[in-house]
């Protein structure tokens, strides 16, 4: 079974530029998550999708971050414009059922550096 795929693995941008991350979850998984992991901290949930609908985006900075899940499968997370404090690893995870208490399967993450 293929795992959660993310690209790119690394990205370096200047502040005020835009960036997009892509995630392909495990086939058939209903729930998809985007987390932000700042160095030295635990992952913080940005947005949670169930199928192609958003169920929690309470911690997503909506003035600069956006996310969509296409046809309930792949997802993209965009930052526009980026700030220095957005430097972090962005993790995508998926779970089979429509609930966060199921085991979450994580991708390797995208490390973003904003200069």
């Amino acid at each position: 079974e293929a795992g959660v795929a993310q690209s790119p693995r690394y990205k370096i941008i200047e502040k005020r530029q835009s960036v997009a991350f892509w995630c392909n979850p495990i086939s058939g998984h209903a729930t998809l998550y985007w987390y932000q992991q700042i160095l030295g901290q635990g992952p913080k949930l940005l947005i949670q999708f169930q199928n192609n609908g958003v169920v929690d985006d309470s911690q997503l900075p909506k003035d600069r971050f956006s996310a969509e899940r296409l046809k309930g499968v792949d997802s993209t997370l965009k930052i526009q414009p980026a700030k220095l404090e957005d430097s972090a690893v962005y993790l995508c995870a998926s779970s089979p059922e429509t609930g966060g208490l199921d085991t979450q399967y994580f991708g390797p993450g995208t490390r973003l550096t904003v200069l």
């Binding site: 635990g42 966060g100 399967y105």
Partner: protein, 114 residues
């Protein structure tokens, strides 16, 4: 609000020694608890989880954790550490809502001395 604390930022143990990583949670009802491990350059992987029943939970890679309601703790243990166990360990608590949600602790970094 639900929260998770991991008092130890970094721990160093010798290979073959026993290990205990501490985790304390704040949650009003019966918690759903998890331990995840993050090896360098890799995503998080579930080690074990507790939902109900036996308070001693067995996981993968020889890890176990014990739920102690009176202490609001869910400590992770391993009797003999291997060099490959060097990683970041995250405790997490599940929050029951209409869609459910997991809140992660800050993590404990484990170094293993050969």
């Amino acid at each position: 609000a639900q929260s998770v604390t991991q008092p130890d930022i970094h721990i160093t143990v010798s290979e073959g020694a026993s290990l205990e990583l501490r985790c304390n949670y704040s949650y009003g009802a019966t918690p759903y608890l998890f331990w995840y491990v993050q090896s360098p350059g890799q995503g998080l992987q579930l080690l074990l989880k507790y939902f109900s029943g036996d308070t001693l939970v067995q996981g993968i890679k020889g890890f176990e954790a014990e739920f102690k309601r009176s202490q609001s703790s869910f400590n992770l243990r391993k009797p003999s550490v291997h060099w490959s166990d060097a990683a970041e360990y995250f405790c997490a608590v599940g929050e029951l809502t209409s869609y459910d949600k997991v809140i992660f602790g800050p993590g404990t970094s484990l170094s293993v001395i050969p």
